[in-house]
């Protein structure tokens, strides 16, 4: 086994808090905490990867903290959590240094700041957050409880906005908002990342030269999804459409599902989104792709990975398992943070195409 990460409980000297404070005082406190930490143990090295600014409702911030605890090694190096409390007029804040010690290696120090703010602060939240972010590191903004005015205020000092379109009740407005944000910053959408294993596997399925021509004979795509995750399915359609050069398509609700079509190069493609109440976690439950040649390929969640099935025009069927562990919701959020440091050239095309289907 390689070295395991052992989180250390922060000691008394590594915690700071104050009421009715200012961003300048918080910034000063962070510097002092780091100096104290270093004086105690020179082996401590500050992680310097990215700033994560999280805007949450004060009432639910514990839940978000728990989610952030589950992201594994994909912790931001400095997390600034702005907890919004209705009616609050002053700032309370706390800062803590957490240490991850890798056995036989250096101890990594990460910083977490919680600033309690009022609604009145949101439109100018950048003036509070700006002094607290580590300069020259990418800054990611995530507002899981809404607060679009806070996100707008922070856009000019952030390079990446983390969203989860699955949380928006209306897929069309979720995609519209993603598109607006994409004009100002790089958008990482957890709904898009939920489709990643499916996209990888569909790409792999059609990769062998023998199967590749079938890509342009696709005439039907059905996506099953958790009832609240239809937007992930639309992004999957958008991905296929943008990559395969489908003409504009449209999707409309019909009999408890969403149906529609797109214009493929050689034939129309029937599209169907099917809610699956059995699906426990957000995201997709299964995909079935049919081609004009009579080939059907399906992928479904299964034990140890995705269960794959291919039926040829003569009705011969093959089944196999594509190995892979479920990432869980913590893993998805961690992946979102990691993706903030990368750039996915396929997303914007998929977003445009998906948005067009819902217009």
């Amino acid at each position: 086994m390689t070295a395991k990460v052992v989180p250390e409980v922060p000691d008394e000297g590594a915690v700071w808090s104050a009421q009715d404070t200012t961003p300048g005082e918080i910034d000063e406190a962070l510097r002092t905490l780091m100096q104290q930490q270093h004086a105690r143990d020179h082996a401590h090295a500050p992680a310097r990867v990215l700033n994560l600014v999280v805007v949450v409702d004060r009432e639910w911030y514990g839940e978000i903290m728990n989610r952030l605890e589950q992201v594994g090694r994909y912790h931001a190096s400095r997390t600034i959590l702005c907890a919004v409390e209705p009616g609050r007029t002053t700032l309370d804040a706390s800062a803590v240094m957490t240490i991850e010690r890798q056995l036989g290696d250096l101890a990594l120090t990460r910083e977490r700041v919680i600033v309690e703010v009022g609604e009145k602060h949101l439109a100018k939240l950048d003036t509070i957050v700006d002094p607290l972010v580590v300069t020259d590191l990418p800054t990611v903004v995530w507002a899981p409880h809404g607060h679009p005015e806070a996100v707008d205020a922070l856009l000019h000092l952030s390079q990446v906005v983390l969203i989860d379109s699955v949380n928006e009740p209306d897929p069309a407005s979720a995609l519209r908002r993603a598109d607006e944000l994409a004009a100002e910053a790089y958008v990482v959408d957890l709904a898009w990342l939920r489709t990643t294993p499916w996209r990888e596997r569909v790409a792999a399925t059609f990769d062998p030269p023998r199967w590749r021509p079938e890509l342009y004979r696709i005439d039907s795509v059905t996506v099953r999804h958790r009832p609240d995750s239809g937007v992930a399915g639309v992004l999957f359609f958008g991905w296929l459409g943008s990559r395969l050069g489908w003409g504009s398509g449209s999707l409309m609700p019909a009999n408890g599902a969403v149906r529609g079509h797109a214009s493929g190069r050689r034939q129309d493609v029937a599209l169907k989104l099917e809610p699956d109440p059995q699906q426990a976690v957000p995201g997709l439950a299964g995909i079935e792709i049919g081609t004009a040649s009579g080939v059907t390929i399906s992928l479904d969640r299964g034990p140890g990975g995705l269960s794959a099935r291919r039926r040829d025009p003569k009705g011969h069927e093959q089944r196999w398992t594509i190995l892979g562990a479920s990432r869980g919701e913590g893993g998805i959020l961690g992946e979102g943070i990691r993706q903030a440091l990368l750039r996915d050239p396929a997303y914007s095309g998929a977003l445009d195409c998906a948005e067009a289907m819902l217009r």
Binding site: P208, L215, G305, A325
Partner: protein
């Protein structure tokens, strides 16, 4: 008329590119390497969804056991050595695709049964899997196994790519390496042969290329005009453990210098390739190796550890280690001075040193720049101005540090060196994958960039072979160093005046 295959438009933006369905055959599948490294690496690829969507594993070894016995052994190895706790469902599904063939490698029936197993995987899936034969065996079996593969027509397939991965050591002398290459190439094409040097799978080793060729800062000074000397160190704090049988035949020079350290040297000194295609990179590396002359006798020091203190405990000397012959002349330490005779590097000494039972485990490359031409600062009361050093740390720390002269706070202008450090662990969220994960995946993809080509291996041996020949004629006793020390005092004799070894 040739049909032009359209690119797969779906791969754009995907981090994990499709890999053709593959059956991996491990010869020596019950051995230490398979259990500690290969099987855990395969599991971790499965966990991350990085294996091809069709994947099978066949173990081949002498031990008599059933498929189920081998699965049990594989499960235990993965549970013990995986870098993450295995997901029971993924592990179960992976093991369902595992089979085992027992027998000795000179037995034709082993290859017949192997052929049947490969065919049955193809038949069940209705596709032809690519084949990778991973030779994780003693080196004397490499040629034999490849010959047997050829005899049974397993070395090629009209509908699939067939590749052979070969572990080190690739020969013990130049003549042996040439023979082995000849034997392999009588059956296989060079493009089918993937010679592993697991150092090349390490992120920090690959980062040397990024460091050199993705930054405008360093390349202008990366030459004889600015660089004074280079030290490449691969020090181990451990002894030989239970590997006396292997190590006493090998010694430090063959174990680390002939392969890993010369690879580090070639990456450090190579010219920028036109593209990062496998052969472009390897062409540049081999040019460096061709520019290195075998060192003269007085530029090489070998030594052997004696009893001492290591890790706070008493440690026995090499000759007292279990299984080491009393009359052994095997070196556990070697230091040598090389030069790369080309336009960029002529006259720059490049020192290599490696050893067992040294003070600390560290692999690094230290590049020392020439001193500044004029010292305007007084050294009085301070360490003073020191030449800048660029340290590329490979293990256990992974990163780059640069020493700079800085003013000591106070009223006087006094200077001492400080370090500017980049540590992988502090700057990236991702955990470095094990080298074997990367290399197995590359072999399945057919990307040979991080594998050693035949002419590279031969060029490496041409540097090392004369040293071994000289040692073979030298009866004088070996210098020694106490276990847990930085190495023998004699190592300083190969340094140019004014130079010293970096502390281990």
């Amino acid at each position: 008329m040739a049909v032009v295959q359209e690119e797969n438009p779906l791969v754009e933006g995907l981090e994990r590119l499709p890999v053709h369905p593959t059956t991996l055959v491990i010869f020596g599948s019950t051995g230490d390497l398979a259990q500690r490294k290969l099987l855990p690496a395969i599991y971790n690829l499965a966990h991350e969804g990085a294996l091809p969507e069709g994947f099978n594993l066949i173990g081949v070894s002498r031990s008599e056991m059933s498929d189920d016995d081998y699965r049990t052994m594989a499960r235990e190895s993965i549970e013990e050595h995986s870098r993450r706790p295995p997901d029971p469902q993924v592990l179960e599904k992976l093991l369902e695709r595992v089979r085992y063939v027992s027998g000795t490698f000179d037995d034709d029936s082993v290859f017949e049964r192997l052929k049947q197993e490969l065919g049955s995987f193809d038949e069940e899936a209705g596709i032809t899997f690519n084949r990778i034969f991973y030779l994780s065996t003693a080196p004397n079996f490499f040629a034999l196994i490849v010959k047997k593969l050829g005899d049974r027509e397993l070395h090629k397939h009209p509908d699939a790519d067939v590749r052979v991965v070969i572990e080190k050591p690739f020969g013990t002398r130049l003549a042996e390496a040439l023979d082995l290459n000849r034997e392999l190439l009588s059956v296989l094409h060079e493009s089918q042969i993937f010679r592993i040097d697991h150092y090349l799978g390490k992120e920090t080793v690959q980062n040397m290329l990024a460091f050199r060729f993705a930054n405008g800062l360093f390349e202008p000074i990366w030459n004889r005009n600015f660089i004074d000397y280079v030290q490449i160190t691969a020090a181990e704090d451990l002894g030989i453990g239970r590997r006396a049988g292997y190590y006493d035949e090998s010694g430090a020079l063959r174990d680390l210098v002939q392969n890993h350290m010369l690879q580090l040297l070639s990456l450090l000194c190579m010219e920028p390739p036109v593209t990062f295609e496998a052969d472009e990179v390897r062409d540049e590396k081999v040019k460096v190796l061709h520019a290195v002359e075998p060192p003269p006798r007085d530029a090489v020091v070998r030594a052997r550890y004696t009893a001492g203190m290591a890790e706070g405990k008493e440690a026995v000397g090499y000759l007292e280690e279990e299984g080491v012959p009393d009359e052994s002349m095997t070196e556990t330490y070697v230091a040598l001075r090389l030069e790369v005779d080309n336009w960029r590097w002529a006259g720059v000494p490049i020192y290599l040193r490696t050893g067992k039972r040294l003070a600390r485990k560290v692999t690094e490359i230290a590049v020392t720049l020439k001193p500044v031409p004029h010292l305007a600062f007084q050294a009085e009361g301070s360490v003073g101005v020191q030449p800048n050093q660029i340290i590329l740390a490979v293990q256990p720390n992974e990163g780059v540090s640069i020493s700079l002269g800085a003013k000591i706070p106070g009223t006087r202008m006094r200077i001492r060196p400080v370090n500017m450090e980049f540590l992988y662990g502090t700057s990236f969220l991702s955990q470095s994958p094990e080298a074997y994960e990367r290399l197995i995946l590359d072999a399945m993809r057919g990307d040979a960039t991080l594998f050693t080509r035949d002419d590279e291996v031969e060029a490496q041996w041409r540097i090392i072979d004369p040293i071994l020949e000289g040692w073979g004629k030298d009866d004088s006793s070996l210098p020694t160093y106490p276990a847990g020390s930085p190495g023998p005092e004699e190592a300083s004799s190969i340094l140019a005046p004014g130079q010293r070894w970096r502390a281990i």
